[in-house]
């Protein structure tokens, strides 16, 4: 009996062995992608997703990191590739791509590359799987990544599902069109190569592993993986009490505040999230296509109730996501969508808020939510242009048993870019990157802090930046008694007003400073251990004043004016005053 035969019965031990093998293949795929990528957005920030799919287009494994908006939208978008190019129309060496926002990752900058994997058999070449990845391109033409467009056509070059390589040969015409439309053709072409190569690496490893286990098809394995995962998800849903749980969340929006709503219905082992009642679609690019809305909604459910099971198609099946057409969470073509993450990243906060009353020990308070992205543009003294896309993170919400994380992305999984890399690639100079005191929302567990960063330009030329910043008007709310986090903001050295979602032209010597929002707290701050408050003060996360006002902890500081270094020994809790402060509020 071969292993493949045993796989049909899917002995749990064999399944465990094969499943792990598949997961390690997608990790190799991602490693190859990052190591060969060109743009900072890919190689440093890792704004990407990598996954393996069965021949029906079901995602069966994803790499360990990446960003949920890409992973899930790639997973649910794969069927469009299969519709456009049914198996019979594909040959070994073919590579497909698209950046259709409605079908894939909701933004024209994100290209998905899908590669059919063929295996030589006695019957000829057989299609056995697909490997795909979704990556944010350094540029896609149009008006640069920004929220300011009024139609998707302005946002850049649209690529319907088509072939990038045909039987191993470059689609020269398509490469010419792409190169001719983007501001940084070498980076974009290099990244397309990296995206192609990493699928090849994944495919080659899959073939080796099929040969080794004498598998004719991966379908029995795929079915078993999906069935087990779906089962686990259903069991997790069943543990939530049946009912309807609602929440709403306000964001700055563009032309005016935006509300997004969720009605979560738990019915046995099925869960439905309906976003009816959310704001109408915006005239600007902050609209989140349904596929992207689905991605972050389903991510939130998975992280909330079943984080330990590897992610695949099975996790989607018992979760249903709907949003009325024409709303900001399901816009109609040709709505502008480039900054869809600004809204989409709030979805986990929204869902957690709805479920918190029934899962009080499992979820986090609201955090900065939306990643702060900026596209900087400028030129060197010699006139040569540069473009840099930068992601920055504020604080995450506090957890029921732990503080929030300072300046860590959530729900996005992307990374920042080192100052030294920024300054090597552009003519920008950063003035600071520091944790912002008192920005984390107070609570028994404190929200994560935001950061303050600043930029100037050294080339003596005009420069610009296009921010996609939120939570400058609506702070991250705390949960179950926790307080809200600090707002984010933006300031120019010229004193001019700076809109958080517009391209801003800068004089050569002008500087910009931004401070990112903090996360909300969890539980009543007056229940926080005074020793924890003391530590936060000594470390400079919380000021002496905030300790008293927000936490009811009176801290005396014995630091002399001539001392430049403050150490924990300088701070002492005034026990009496603290007792009084906390009692006063307790009785009021």
């Amino acid at each position: 009996m071969t292993v493949a035969d045993r796989a049909t019965e899917m002995d749990p031990i064999v399944l465990e062995v094969l499943w792990n093998r598949l997961l390690s293949v997608t990790n190799e795929q991602q490693a190859a992608l990052i190591r060969t990528a060109f743009s900072t957005i890919l190689r440093e920030s890792q704004d990407l997703a990598c996954g393996a799919f069965d021949t029906r287009g079901n995602m069966i494994a994803q790499s360990e990191t990446g960003t949920p908006g890409h992973i899930n939208s790639m997973a649910t978008g794969m069927r469009h590739f299969l519709d456009a190019y049914p198996a019979g129309t594909l040959a070994p060496g073919d590579v497909l791509l698209t950046n259709d926002p409605w079908m894939t990752a909701g933004q024209i900058n994100d290209i998905t590359i899908a590669t059919p994997i063929f295996r030589k058999t006695a019957q000829g070449e057989q299609l056995v799987a697909y490997f795909a990845n979704t990556c944010h391109m350094a540029d896609i033409g149009g008006r640069l990544l920004s929220a300011e467009a009024s139609e998707v056509y302005e946002e850049g070059l649209y690529i319907p599902i088509m072939k990038l390589f045909m039987r191993g040969e470059r689609n020269e015409e398509l490469f010419k069109i792409i190169r001719g439309n983007v501001r940084v053709p070498d980076e974009v072409e290099g990244d397309l190569y990296a995206m192609t190569a990493c699928n090849d690496v994944g495919g080659a490893r899959l073939i080796e592993f099929m040969d080794e286990f004498e598998m004719e098809s991966i379908q029995p394995l795929a079915d078993a993986i999906i069935a087990r995962s779906e089962q686990a998800m259903r069991e997790a849903i069943s543990r939530i009490p049946d009912g309807v749980y609602e929440n709403e969340l306000w964001s700055d929006g563009f032309e005016g505040p935006v509300v997004i709503k969720a009605k979560v219905t738990v019915d046995g082992d099925e869960l439905t999230v309906d976003h009816a009642g959310s704001s109408a679609q915006s005239r600007y690019g902050i609209n989140s296509v349904l596929n992207y809305t689905h991605a972050y909604t389903s991510f939130a459910i998975k992280a909330a109730i079943s984080p330990e099971v590897p992610h695949n198609e099975g996790a989607f099946r018992p979760v249903h996501v709907t949003a009325p057409e024409g709303t900001i969470l399901n816009p109609r073509r040709p709505a502008p969508v480039a900054a869809r993450h600004v809204i989409g990243h709030f979805l986990p906060n929204l869902i957690f808020g709805a479920l918190a009353p029934v899962l009080p020990d499992r979820l986090m308070a609201e955090g900065a939510g939306s990643l702060w992205s900026t596209v900087f543009r400028g030129e060197r003294a010699n006139g040569e242009g540069w473009v840099l896309t930068l992601f920055q993170c504020g604080g995450t919400g506090a957890r029921p048993t732990k503080d929030g994380l300072d300046n860590v992305g959530f729900p996005s999984g992307v990374a920042g870019v080192p100052v030294e890399v920024i300054e090597n690639l552009t003519t920008l100079v950063m003035s600071r990157r520091e944790i912002k005191i008192d920005s984390g929302g107070a609570g028994r567990y404190r929200g994560g802090c935001g950061q303050t960063t600043g930029f100037r330009n050294t080339s003596g030329k005009l420069w610009s930046f296009s921010g996609m910043y939120d939570r400058t008007k609506f702070p991250a709310k705390g949960l179950l008694g926790g307080k809200e986090g600090a707002l984010g903001g933006l300031e120019l050295s010229t004193g001019e007003e700076a809109a958080p979602k517009r391209r801003i032209l800068m004089e050569p010597t002008a500087e910009m400073t931004s401070w990112l929002p903090g996360g909300g707290g969890y539980h009543n701050p007056f229940e926080r251990e005074p020793a924890q408050v003391l530590r936060d003060v000594a470390y400079g996360y919380v000021s002496v004043e905030a300790a008293e006002q927000e936490y009811g902890v009176k801290i005396n500081c014995s630091r002399r004016p001539d001392e430049r270094i403050s150490v924990p020994e300088h701070y002492r809790i005034d026990e009496d005053a603290t007792r009084k402060l906390r009692a006063r509020v307790g009785t009021s």
């Binding site: 290099g190 190569a197 990374a415 920042g416 300054e423």
Partner: protein
């Protein structure tokens, strides 16, 4: 009296192991003693004294002692380093805490980030600024800094790391401030990022520099103390330390750059594998060291382990990349897997059998130890399968409880899966072997190697028990179990050359390079290396230099390491570098990239002394063929027989070179047991290593 003896000592978590070798005759003595955590040099002295006595050798006859220690790793994990401050560029004291702003696990809402070694209140900013080009925008004001340094001194700060932006391009400010501190506070430990790791990316560079100075005092005091102790014993030779790169360094280098000792113990295991490979003419191998809680795998190619430049220490999630403090030092590239003999088996939420990463450790240990362990482990499964003899564990020093083990596996695994105890035990055994094989495959493939071509070299307590089946899963051609698996890593110490790594970051496009400047960089690094080696007693003619460059396509973010030709570098050298790059890149990623040209980031040099000759004399006085070595037979589980099968048991010490036999077989020695499946063909080589053809 000739100084013909050399000593290798490895201080592990539990045991301090030693080997004493006479390089003239090849005669050797091994020693083992419990590690003395409060003063690890105590155990070194004890075990050395004992070995010298048994071998009847006087300490004056020791030429060199080479030493490996986990002190650095432990100091960081246990946070037992110096009270350390960090000086940064104004505005960037939090760079080391903000890090890369990225979650290393997507779905876990409760994850935590690693804590920097220098707390926020001891991270102080200096008003200075250098640009990416090295151009100075703001010079530090030393008059202003002097009182700050005094204040640090007054507050009991013992160590200062200095890490300014772009110091890899211009280190003047770091050096100036260091001089000032040296003048004001001569007792202060100081590390400069431009010396510890002169490379771009401030988070990683700063993290490494802080770690370096954080452990410096402890390492310095320990090594000086050890040296003193050895001198008092009458040792007049040279004391060297094993580096994580696989070379050995002097005490002076080790105390300047203690962070380079980070993985010195495991490095020795990889080197031992390389040594056995050279001895037996097998230059490509995969080392497989499996102990109680973890296993380590390493590819040995052309007689040398692969090296890398990134490492993480003190991971919050022990085996999760991204959850630890980044450390950029040359390290032997190993992959560590959270599975060993003590790893616990359980049924997870999906109804699947999982093994590890939680471990029963040595206390309470596996169920079979009878010390209160209740969770079934890999060792328990090995016992059920007949791989271990309940009466001959650790050479009979410890009795194993078979009944309790059966009960635990039945209750916790077999009943839940609806299978019998032997099948459940085989499942545990197989899953752990698969994790090893998976890790080995990813590890090999990430480096463009094919795991199927490497014989598996197994050691550590559990390595030889699992090696055969891991080799089978990898489709490896053979498995090798060295003689004396218990002291294998100490052999590695004695086979390592004296070696130093140098690096200079110097960014440029390959087609615009000033090759005269590159030649100067190498001349400079070569001169520094030569000086150290000459001072350590290596003859000029025996020094070798290996040059390489980290290069990439223009615009990429990660480099690959490519060899640089020896001799005079000129514009002609460019073509050679390009050819080498294409070859390495294609091997790694299957295709070359777009035609955009190459850029170089760092020039590297490894300066080495000669590889020491090491030939161990393995006597085989009362050994012979398999008949003579056969000590019995027991029922052992082999899936090929769908269950237990009578299997001969051999005494390792009585198998002489040239002996051959077929599997299935069990070969027992004191520290370990070699399990051989039915398809294996065994031969004992001239050095008494056991080689199984698969």
């Amino acid at each position: 009296m000739t100084m013909s003896y050399r000593v290798g000592v490895d201080i592990g978590g539990t045991f301090t192991d030693l080997i004493l070798v006479d390089d003239e005759s090849g005669a050797f003595t091994v020693g083992k003693s419990l590690t003395t955590p409060n003063d690890p040099s105590q155990a070194v002295e004890d075990v050395l004294r004992d070995a010298l006595e048994r071998a009847q050798v006087s300490p004056e006859r020791l030429a060199t002692i080479i030493h490996g220690t986990t002190l650095v790793t432990n100091s960081i994990i246990e946070r037992k380093g110096s009270k350390t401050a960090l000086l940064t560029t104004k505005g960037f004291r939090d760079a080391v805490e903000i890090g890369r702003e990225m979650r290393y696990e997507l779905y876990d809402l409760f994850l935590e980030m690693p804590r920097p070694l220098a707390p926020r209140y001891l991270r102080l900013e200096v008003d200075e600024r250098v640009l990416a080009t090295g151009e100075v925008v703001q010079a530090p004001n030393h008059d202003d800094l002097e009182p700050l340094v005094r204040e640090l001194q007054d507050k009991g700060i013992e160590a200062i790391a200095i890490s300014f932006l772009h110091s890899y391009a211009n280190s003047d400010h770091e050096r100036g401030v260091a001089e000032l501190i040296g003048r004001v506070a001569p007792e202060m430990r100081i590390s400069l990022s431009s010396e510890v790791v002169p490379e771009i990316r401030e988070f990683e560079r700063t993290s490494t520099t802080v770690a370096n100075v954080y452990v410096q005092d402890r390492v310095d005091r320990y090594l000086r103390g050890l040296e003193r102790r050895l001198r008092e014993l009458g040792f007049g030779g040279q004391l060297f330390v094993m580096l994580s790169s696989g070379g050995v360094g002097t005490i002076d280098t080790a105390t300047r750059f203690p962070i380079r000792l980070l993985e010195s113990g495991p490095a020795a295991g990889a080197l031992a594998t390389a040594y056995y490979g050279q001895l037996t003419g097998v230059n490509d191998l995969m080392s497989f060291d499996m102990g109680g809680t973890t296993a380590k795998l390493c590819v040995i190619e052309k007689g040398a382990p692969l090296t890398a430049n990134d490492f993480e220490v003190d991971r919050v999630y022990r085996f999760k990349r991204g959850s630890g403090l980044p450390v950029k030092v040359p390290v032997i590239e190993m992959i560590e897997i959270g599975a060993g003999g003590g790893s616990i088996a359980r049924i997870d939420a999906l109804g699947l059998l999982k093994v590890g990463p939680d471990s029963a450790g040595s206390e309470p240990g596996p169920v079979c130890y009878g010390r209160g362990g209740t969770e079934p482990t890999v060792t328990d499964a090995d016992l059920i399968l007949g791989y271990l003899d309940p009466a001959f564990f650790l050479g009979g020093k410890m009795q194993l409880d078979l009944d309790a083990t059966e009960r635990a596996i039945k209750e916790k695994v077999a009943d839940k899966l609806g299978v019998g105890v032997p099948e459940a035990a085989w499942g545990i055994h197989q899953i752990v072997n698969e994790s090893m094989a998976n890790a080995a495959r990813v590890h090999a493939i990430e480096r463009g190697k094919d795991a199927r071509s490497f014989p598996l070299f197994t050691f550590g307590g559990a390595g030889p028990v699992h090696g055969f089946r891991v080799a089978e899963a990898l489709h490896a051609p053979a498995m090798i179990a060295p003689f004396g698996a218990g002291v294998t890593s100490t052999v590695g110490f004695l086979s390592a050359p004296l070696q130093f790594d140098f690096v200079r970051t110097s960014y440029g496009r390959l087609d615009e390079l000033d090759w005269a400047a590159v030649a100067r960089i190498f001349d400079d690094m070569e001169a520094s290396g030569r000086e150290i080696l000459l001072a350590s007693g290596v003859a000029e003619g025996e020094i070798s230099y290996a040059r390489s460059v980290d290069a990439r396509y223009i615009g990429q973010g990660y480099e690959i390491r490519v060899p640089v030709p020896a001799g005079r570098l000129t514009a002609e050298s460019r073509a050679e570098v390009v050819a080498a790059f294409d070859q390495v890149y294609e091997q790694l990623y299957g295709r070359t990239g777009p035609s955009v040209g190459l850029e170089v980031m760092s020039w590297r040099l490894v300066v080495s002394g000669p590889r020491p000759e090491l030939r161990l004399q393995v006597g085989a006085a009362d050994a012979g063929g398999p008949e003579q070595a056969r000590k019995g037979e027991r029922r052992v589980y082999h899936p090929e027989y769908r269950g237990y099968h009578p299997t001969p048991v051999y005494d390792r010490y009585r198998l002489a070179p040239g002996a051959t036999f077929e599997g299935p077989a069990i070969v027992e020695e004191r520290e370990s047991t070699v399990v051989i499946g039915p398809k294996g063909r065994v031969a004992i080589d001239e050095f008494r290593n056991l080689r199984v053809e698969m």
